[in-house]
Amino acid sequence: MKKRKQRVNSFMVNGLLLFLCLVWTVPTFGLLMTSFRDRDVVSKTGWWTVFTRPDQAELTLDNYEQVLSGKTITLVDSKGNQQTVKGDNLTRAFLNSLTVSIPAVVIPILIASFAAYGFAWMDFPGRKVFFILVVALLVVPLQISLIPLLRDYGRLELTGTFLAIWLAHTGFGLPLSVYLMYNYISQLPRSIIESAIIDGCSHFGVFWKLILPLSVPAIASLAIFQFLWVWNDLLVALVFIGSKPGVEVLTQRLLYLIGSRGQDWHLLCAGAFISMALPLMVFISLQRYFVRGLLAGSVKG
């Protein structure tokens, strides 16, 4: 093992790696720094001047206050000047994103787990055909569904409701969810399930009491997957929520900010960071499960 990690040219290897890591992190770091800088300096000097000329740094939390607030607020800058600004109400969008994400993660996983159990441990006519259908749908681009669903939603008056977007994310997430859950559940030892059935447990009982608790690792990695996908989604939200202000999610608000405040970098950066904070936290703390899910094979339509 030691030989395998032989550090030939370790200077070159580490140097190149460091350079790539810098290229990958500096853009995000710049965004973070900018979000804390005073509105007046952001548009005049680069964010790196915080380090080259620390005396003129002028760091502040005003930008966050402004993008989060739903009302008009008064900000006082370091020189004592008062300024009245209109908030961008990202708080509401944040809550909307949560309202969209949590059920849009739990519902497909629950439905997929049921289906995966059915495919793995029950026998019924059409089993193989239906599962082939699931595999075929894995890579179908969701664009193909947008127009027909939009027409259905129009008729059912669902457009702009939370239910509409939960169902959409459920539909688009199901093929991968069923596939991954099937891979996991079908590998569980047959003896556990059979002995439970012999003991008089119904399939329904086996599923709730045995399979779901045993599948926690698979569920965890799938949940992170689906959460990142839903939280970061723009297209599905644009199509099925549209411009309904009460329901708009973070990505939509952020897109709107880019359009209306394209040069107000202090606000854009703060807003972008708010949209990134939760997925980054989830990602860093649960990375292990995420990697496991990735390695279990992942292609999404």
Binding site: V8, P103, S298
Partner: protein, 368 residues
């Protein structure tokens, strides 16, 4: 006397039966009624946001679980034979219904709609497709999508492999992998803000606040509006995707590299091969299957790319791709026929991958 009794008993039985039936119907009907009432409340209600959020979450998650219990309860009322043959469909049925409604049937419906005009009232034959292959903006979007496919896939996959190999030989493996992996958690819109800021342009003479122009001018260049230089602007957009998906490729390659048998590498060393030779002649051939799988996944993502283009340029300066053209036809032009036709093209482009997936699945033999 005895006859009366039997009649009584029959009446009793009938009453119980009716009562049971009524109860069996009453429960689901009430349940649906409650679901519906809460739905209306959520749609039109005016409670504080946080309250609505909580109710919506409980309603959505609890509702689905309740539906399964309700279904099970109804099925368990049936006789043994019916129960046995219906139970599997309680498990797989909901998933199949949703898949049919959201993906399978829409594919056929989109195909159907693509032969109709913008309002889907009039049959136009292949006119939409004819437009798709002659319109200049559409042709530009194909060119751009091709740039996305080639540049995006090769660079994301290539950088991923390079970093995986480097990290495997470095003592900073863990931290460097986390840093490269991190952008995967960011939305395309968030990444759009990050990179718009990197590409930000200020006229010469002013302080550049965009990182790229700051570096470029520091080396003596004149500031450039990167996103307006055609056709290179598409490449600048592609690099945002590369930045986000390199981490994915790296993680998978990294795991694959660790699976290369040490004995093979040792044998190479004994034969006097240098590190680069070992990588080229042993590691890469060994993980060839993984490289194909990862590249296919990234290929599919670039094929459907929409968010980055829509966030960064909105398709201006000839940066449109097929998916953003589809969105434009759908919402800016309200042309459902054309929108469907473009979606069908995307679908056709993905069929080879679908075929490969199915073939691989057929060979697996895992499904008995």
């Amino acid at each position: 006397m005895t006859q009366e009794r039997t009649e009584d008993r029959l009446l009793q039985k009938a009453l119980v039966g009716v009562g049971r039936l009524f109860f069996t119907l009453f429960v689901p009907v009430t349940a649906f009624f409650i679901f519906f009432k809460i739905f209306i409340f959520l749609r039109d209600g005016n409670a504080p946001q946080l309250v609505m959020t909580l109710i919506a979450i409980v309603w959505g998650v609890g509702g689905v679980a309740a539906l399964y219990f309700l279904g099970y309860w109804l099925i368990s009322k049936l006789s043994g034979k019916w129960n046995k043959s219906l139970l599997p469909y309680l498990f797989v049925g909901p998933a199949l219904v949703i898949l049919a409604w959201y993906l399978f049937i829409p594919t056929l419906r989109s195909l159907y709609l693509s032969f109709f005009n913008d309002t889907s009232m009039e049959f136009v034959g292949l006119a939409n497709f004819l437009y798709c292959f002659t319109d200049e903006d559409m042709l530009i979007s194909y060119r751009n999508n091709l740039i996305w496919l080639i540049v995006g896939t090769s660079f994301a996959s290539g950088f991923g492999l390079l970093i995986a190999i480097l990290a495997d030989r470095s003592k900073f493996e863990k931290i460097s992998k986390i840093l490269i992996f991190l952008p995967m958690a960011i939305s395309f819109v968030g990444a759009g803000v990050i990179w718009r800021f990197v590409y930000e342009y200020k006229p010469a003479g002013e302080d550049q606040i965009g990182l790229l122009n700051a570096i470029y001018t520091a080396f003596g260049g004149t500031p450039q509006a990167w996103l307006m230089i055609q056709p290179w602007n598409t490449v600048f957009l592609v690099f945002i995707m590369v930045w986000m998906w390199t981490g994915y490729a790296m993680v998978i390659y990294s795991a694959a590299i660790k699976g290369v048998p040490v004995s093979l590498i040792e044998a190479g060393r004994v034969d006097g091969a240098g590190e680069i030779r070992i990588i080229a002649a042993i590691t890469i051939p060994y993980i060839k299957g993984t490289i194909i799988a990862v590249s296919t996944t990234i290929l599919i993502i670039t094929l459907k790319i929409f968010d980055i283009v829509y966030t960064m340029t909105g398709g201006l300066f000839d940066t449109d791709v097929v998916a953003s053209m589809q969105y434009k036809q759908m919402f800016a032009q309200h042309d459902f026929g054309m929108g469907s036709a473009i979606a069908v093209l995307l679908f056709i482009a993905i069929i080879p991958v679908m075929y490969l997936n199915l073939r691989q699945f057929g060979q697996q033999e895992g499904f008995k």
